[in-house]
């Protein structure tokens, strides 16, 4: 049975993946790394990256690669803050559910 990934969770996953690279990373690589963690269509990522960029959680810069342009995404301090906030909520959320599933008292 599939577990639904909410928009907030997906944002956090993308921020975490991009946040791993100090120098930034690019669309195709981000997509592959996110897909290593959860199943999603490859065309889902672009709107997410765009929204995070508009929200100030990611910045972009362009670099030439093999004579072509390649856009790199980097996490911002605001992005790190949002990720930290989500991670904290996630810890609490999953801890409670894990306890429930294991039959432990809340």
């Amino acid at each position: 049975m599939a577990i639904n990934t909410t928009a907030g969770l997906l944002d956090a996953i993308v921020l975490a993946v991009v946040g791993r690279e100090d120098a930034g990373t690019y669309g195709y690589k981000i997509t592959q790394e996110v897909r290593a963690v959860l199943e999603l269509s490859e065309s889902t990522l672009y709107p997410v990256l765009r929204r995070l960029q508009k929200d100030g959680c990611l910045t972009v810069h362009d670099e030439a690669f093999n004579g072509r342009n390649r856009r790199y995404y980097q996490i911002t301090p605001a992005g790190r803050a949002r990720l930290a906030e989500f991670t904290a909520e996630w810890e609490v959320y999953t801890a409670k559910i894990n306890k429930l599933f294991k039959g432990e008292p809340q």
Binding site: Y28, E42, S43, R50, N66, G67, R70
Partner: protein, 367 residues
């Protein structure tokens, strides 16, 4: 499907987006295909899902309604139909133009004669001492034939200004040629309406010929814009930008520039010899033929409908090469490559030629 098909369908489906947003989205997916590897084009397109799916997600996130879904089997045939209709329309326009030209009034012949005489009478232009950039362009205009509304005019630009040259022409041919007898850049505009013609730029030259929207051009004689510059020995453009919406672009002789940018909607480009650091050409409908391109570090040619023929200097191993035709033959140094020719190299001169519908033949001077 092929990369070009995916991207052009996506572009069409994103037409509701503002230009900048649409560009960004297309660039993202172009880079995606690049990063996945050109040999994996079909697989990448399959993994991305349909362009309609990607477009829907993008439009939804921007708060716009998604476009009507197209039945996939139909869209491929649909594009061929559109191409056919455009071809037929273009053919009709050409036929009308030829018919109209055949009915030119005798008065027009007199106009050309008067231009020839004013040429001979003209004093050689000298640059004002000190500040060539601020010299007003000198112009001679022959009197318009009463009622016809079209003139022929000749303008000179100081060398320093002319080196940064932009010509944007809605209708008419553009010719760049060299001559031993000019010391500045001279622009001859024939069959033009002066109120559609603008000259701008202080340190550069910007010539714009803008025809009004919905104006029926089929009754007008074809304008011709001829720019004559000193020979490559003594004159090199910093930037030569030409946008021609309907008309051929021709380079005669040896043209030298740091960067050449060509944008043709409906017209052919032909050139003898160009020496340029960067050559970028985008053609929607027309052929691209360049006898010889010397010294280029970056070459990028895109043709939606038409053949490309090009010879470059140097040897094949000096370049990082990406030559591709979606629906035509690809030939490199005389050999045919059905799937296109890709040989990427780091730190090499870059040579990219892409056509959707047309043949490509690229040759290097030294195999």
């Amino acid at each position: 499907m092929k990369r070009y098909e995916y991207l052009s369908q996506l572009e069409a489906l994103l037409s509701a987006l503002p230009e900048a947003e649409r560009r960004d989205a297309l660039n993202y997916y172009e880079e995606y295909f690049d990063a996945a590897g050109p040999e994996n084009e079909e697989a990448t397109a399959a993994e991305l899902g349909s362009p309609a799916e990607a477009a829907r997600k993008i439009l939804e996130s921007e708060g716009l309604p998604a476009a009507e879904p197209q039945p996939p089997a139909k869209s491929r045939a649909g594009y061929l139909w559109i191409a056919l209709i455009v071809l037929v329309a273009a053919a009709l326009v050409m036929v009308l133009a030829v018919l109209m030209l055949g009915l030119i009034q005798p008065g027009t012949a007199a106009e050309s004669v008067s231009v020839a005489t004013s040429f001979a009478d003209e004093e050689p232009q000298t640059e004002a001492s000190g500040n060539p950039a601020l010299t007003e362009p000198s112009t001679t205009e022959s009197a318009a034939e009463a009622g016809s509304g079209f003139t022929t005019m000749q303008t000179s630009f100081a060398r320093a200004r002319a080196q940064d040259m932009t010509l944007m022409v809605d209708y008419g041919t553009v010719t760049i040629q060299t001559s031993d007898t000019v010391t500045e850049a001279e622009l001859l505009c024939e069959n033009v309406r002066t109120d559609w013609l603008t000259f701008a730029g202080e340190k550069q030259v910007r010539v714009t010929y803008k025809t009004p929207a919905n104006y029926n051009l089929s009754n007008d004689p074809e304008p011709h814009f001829t720019l004559t510059v000193p020979t490559a020995r003594s004159f090199t453009f910093h930037k030569l930008n030409i946008t021609a919406v309907m008309g051929n672009v021709t380079f005669a002789g040896d043209i030298a520039a740091e960067a050449v940018t060509l944008n043709l909607d409906m017209g052919n480009f032909s050139g003898d010899t160009v020496t340029a650091g960067t050559l970028s050409a985008v053609i929607d409908m027309g052929t691209f033929e360049l006898g010889k391109l010397n010294g280029a570090q970056t070459i990028a040619i895109e043709n939606s409908m038409g053949n490309v023929g090009l010879t470059v200097d140097g040897g094949a191993d000096e370049y990082s090469i990406d030559i591709q035709s979606d629906m035509g033959d690809t030939a490199f140094n005389g050999q045919t490559y059905p799937g296109g020719y890709l040989r990427e190299k780091e730190n090499a001169r870059s040579l990219t030629v892409r056509t959707a519908m047309g043949n490509v033949a690229v040759t290097t001077e030294n195999p």
